[in-house]
């Protein structure tokens, strides 16, 4: 357990020293969400329908863009290789890094999303479902993304490659995340979607730190 | 015969499907055969060079 919390604290402290990175991700999220109405047109009725999907896709892209940071710095200065020989299981250390990544990229997006939702004319109760869906879904994005980040460690053009590897795997999260909001606003109730998102989160928590740790071992071999 | 190619008005779609499938599968085989040929030639040349050296 200490392996996880220690790693989270360390990575969060490191991230706090480079606040610009967190802000860049947030700004990307905001600007993508602001570009869609410019492309589609300002009719609130249309925007209200598209809002949840657009915000979810924007959150997905923003969280993906920051994946490169998860292991890059530790890889560059050799810390990562030393983590491999630590007595603590590597998968727990990876879990710590994923949690820290989520605190620096996913959580800010969740907190900011109601403001952007207002721009799309979403009602307060819809905003609530949007926030819950993002709260459950963005950790899954970080967990799955860790595998992609570990596999592409140190490769040329790793950023674009990560997108190709990870985006298809994000599809279920996107479907049920945006689906929860839509189901709620159409009166069907989003609970079913949300509980499935929760199931995804549990599954990803169980499997992906282990897979990402295996990927790290492969990449550093 | 013309009726056969017409496919009850769906000629474009039926032949567009069968044709593209045939072209892709044939192209894959041709590329693989050429890859093998080029590989054998390159490896033989490499081997002769190495033998000359030793």
């Amino acid at each position: 357990m200490f392996a996880v919390t220690g790693m989270v604290r360390r990575d969060v402290i490191l991230a706090m020293r480079r606040r610009a990175d967190v802000l860049t991700t947030l700004f990307f999220f905001v600007i993508v969400a602001a570009l869609f109405p410019l492309g589609i047109g300002p009719e609130m009725a249309t925007l209200r329908i598209m809002g949840p999907g657009v915000l979810w896709v924007a959150a997905l892209l923003a969280s993906m863009l920051s994946l490169g940071r998860m292991f890059a710095a530790d890889y560059a200065d050799g810390t990562l290789e030393q983590m491999l020989v630590l007595p603590q299981p590597l998968s727990l250390l990876v879990l710590g890094k994923v949690v820290a990544h989520w605190l620096g990229s996913g959580l800010p997006l969740v907190l900011l999303s109601p403001v952007l939702g207002l721009q799309y004319g979403l009602a307060p109760d819809v905003l609530k479902v949007l926030v819950i869906s993002l709260l459950l879904g963005t950790p899954v994005l970080s967990l799955i993304g860790a595998i992609g980040a570990a596999l592409t460690l140190g490769l040329r053009g790793g950023g674009v490659l990560v997108a190709l590897l990870v985006l298809p795997l994000y599809v279920p999260v996107l479907i049920f995340g945006a689906g929860a909001v839509e189901a709620h606003s159409s009166g069907l109730g989003g609970e079913g979607h949300l509980s499935l998102l929760g199931a995804f989160l549990l599954m990803a928590l169980a499997l992906s730190p282990w897979a990402a740790a295996t990927a790290l071992r492969i990449s550093l071999d | 015969m013309a009726e056969f190619f017409h496919m009850g008005g769906y000629g474009l779609y039926v032949w567009g499907s069968y044709g593209v499938v045939a072209v892709f599968l044939a192209l894959e085989l041709i590329f693989l055969a050429r890859r093998k040929q080029a590989l054998l030639e390159r490896l033989t040349a490499l081997r002769e060079m190495e033998e000359d050296k030793s």
Partner: protein, 245 residues
């Protein structure tokens, strides 16, 4: 007769075995393709609902089935390669991906050509087509990762892990896309409704076997190239090259 399959995990044994079986596999592919296409285009009766356009199904469905099956095959080889660290399994996984990707593409293409007359649109966000598209992306991801890594061992192991992650996700993706599709009431024509005549089922099955044999041909050809590239310093490859003259 007991066949010792593990024997063929040695590239030096696999190479001649693949070489010997290739003519038979190729002959079988040609024969079954000819029979299947003949039955599909000539002897199968016209469908009363879809007209002649349903003949596209005879290649669309086998291509889609093969694209899914080859992904499982690739993941199985990837798993074998990761667990037992056998070179041959990694080479076969590498050889399977491109053929699978081609079948996924062909399933999408023929799906579009069937959809245009049936749905009135080249592309409909139908659950099957959408899942097939994502499967195509998964293939591209595995191939792109392999291509991006110079170190051969890392490329093998990294793409193997990605293939395994993909195979865990494929059922989840399929069911989420299916659910997404039913919720949005997309324009879907369920062709399980139009009962399949036996004369319609046979060409589909025969072409499936034909595509399967075809996959054996291309995978064996590609695996032989991989073997030559990787084992070129082995003695038996040297002898093989010398005997070529």
């Amino acid at each position: 007769m007991a066949i010792h399959w593990t024997k063929y995990s040695a590239p030096s044994a696999f190479y001649p075995m693949a070489g010997r079986s290739l003519p038979w596999l190729a002959a079988g592919t040609l024969l079954l393709t000819a029979v299947g296409v003949y039955m599909g285009l000539f002897s199968a009766p016209t469908d009363y609902k879809q007209g002649e356009a349903y003949r596209i199904m005879f290649i669309h469905v086998p291509a889609a089935w093969m694209s899914m099956w080859l992904y499982i095959v690739m993941a199985a080889y990837a798993g074998l390669g990761l667990v037992y660290n056998t070179r041959m399994a990694h080479m076969l996984a590498a050889a399977t991906a491109p053929t699978g990707a081609i079948f996924a593409f062909l399933a999408l293409w023929t799906g579009a050509f069937w959809g245009r007359p049936m749905w009135g649109a080249w592309w409909v966000w139908d659950a099957r087509l959408t899942s097939e598209l994502i499967l195509f992306f998964l293939y591209l991801g595995v191939m792109a990762l392999r291509a991006a890594i110079d170190d051969r061992q890392r490329a093998d192991r990294a793409s193997a892990l990605l293939a395994l992650v993909g195979v865990v996700n494929v059922p989840i993706i399929y069911f989420s896309v299916k659910w997404w599709n039913t919720l949005h009431q997309g324009a879907t024509i369920d062709f399980s409704g139009s009962k399949m005549d036996r004369s319609m089922l046979w060409p589909m099955l025969i072409l499936t076997v034909a595509f399967w044999l075809y996959s054996f041909v291309t995978i064996f050809l590609r695996a032989r190239c991989e073997i030559l590239e990787r084992e070129r310093h082995a003695e038996w490859v040297g002898e093989l090259l010398d005997n070529r003259g």
